[in-house]
Symmetry: C2
Subunit: 253 residues, 2 copies
């Protein structure tokens, strides 16, 4: 069994449609590669009770919780204090975070003011997640990993955290696609193949291109040979239905 | 008070990182325009108990639930039968959906086979949502609106549904941005402005461009004059901090 993950995206800007989230795809892909499949994502508002409730529900249900967003210096950045409240521990200056940030602001000639000091305030017992982009660190407490919302900062934090995560066998994908075979024609045969490969997750994804409509079938699992055997059967099915199966996913539109 | 919405994105392909979700931003934007702000989003797996549980929890908590994904013809398309189970009603042929689809397949010379017939099977009492792209309809039951996952089909369904939704005052946004003023410098003054405009949601979003780092402040609310007054105060604050405030959001990177 692979350890599991869920993502908690904290921020009104995603819920309002202002911001296109790019973190979910990145984290889902990277976590799959290290064998910690993402089982659920929640996008929630910057409201204390909502954040605290979601953190406590999800850290009980999943092996890992990754949060993005809400750790900057402004009034709407309340993730850190809410995670403290969820764990029932004091929210206090983290000496190493403080040292890194005060050194950085001194170097820049900027003031390490009260708003910025909040970014060095963390749940007692937090372990820092390095931030190679803008210094202010994320942190881990228990099985909750608290990261920035800005994609390039989040990605930097994730890569510094990744070696310490306990993963399982990587989730591999094998795929085949064809034009000219609608989903509704391949569905019955696909159900039959899926039933013989219970360890795989077989997904069917129609696509639309100027060159024609097609379908891509993706097999996900932890054993390459099993995924390849299933995809070979799908390719045969596509041929029988008059398609021209091509290995892999279709090229981007 | 505006009526509320939540989104339920159903599909392993988003959780695995295969697919970049584009529906959340579209729906959040359009629902904000018609005064039904999105309060929460969940992305969940194609597993019956998980779908049924989420539908029942969210339809009790929000005025509207919009689902995307899982209404195609293949084995992993189980949204419709799960919504039936959530409502405790029979899952049965919908005569109008059946008529539309059988006419379409007859016209195409395709077989209206068992897999496709599943797309005409719906919870008893479902009201159809038109699909101008590929015929197979979505549906509404109670306060749950069930739509396709493919963005252009979902958008077509949403626009046919929108006139029947009961909205509130539109959620408006006003914004101002500047380079040269870091978030940590503007945070204190911004907190003070937010405290005097409790009806607004003031968001602070750093951005990074080749031309310099900046910050955008966005005020969201239902009264244009109030949002404009708050943004005028933010612009003044930016000036005091040495910035050059420019109305609106920064141009895309």
């Amino acid at each position: 069994m692979n350890p599991t993950a869920c993502l908690l995206v904290i921020g009104n800007e995603v819920l309002s449609g202002r911001t296109q989230d790019l973190n979910i795809k990145f984290l889902a892909t990277r976590l799959g590669e290290i064998g910690i499949p993402v089982r659920e994502v929640r996008i929630i508002r910057d409201v204390p009770d909502i954040i605290i409730g979601a953190v406590n529900e999800m850290r009980a249900r999943f092996d890992n919780v990754f949060t993005t967003g809400g750790i900057g210096p402004t009034h709407d950045d309340i993730t850190s204090e809410c995670v403290s409240a969820a764990f029932g521990v004091p929210w206090e200056i983290h000496p190493e975070a403080w040292a890194r940030m005060s050194a950085q602001y001194a170097k820049n000639g900027s003031e390490f003011n009260a708003a910025r000091q909040r970014m060095a305030t963390m749940p007692r017992g937090a372990k820092l997640i390095d931030n190679a982009v803008s210094v202010a660190p994320g942190f881990t407490i228990g099985n909750v990993h608290v990261m920035a919302g800005v994609p390039r900062i989040m990605q930097s934090m994730f890569e510094s955290l990744a070696p310490s995560l306990v993963g399982g066998p990587p989730i591999l994908a094998r795929a085949v696609h064809t034009v000219g075979v609608p989903e509704g024609a391949i569905a019955e045969g696909l159900t039959e193949i899926q039933s013989r490969y219970p360890a795989l997750d077989l997904g069917s994804y129609p696509y639309y291109r100027g060159t024609g409509n097609g379908v891509a079938i993706v097999a996900k699992g932890t054993e390459a040979e099993v995924a390849e055997a299933a995809i070979a059967e799908v390719a045969k099915l596509m041929l029988q239905l008059g398609g021209t199966p091509i290995a892999g996913e279709p090229p981007a539109a």
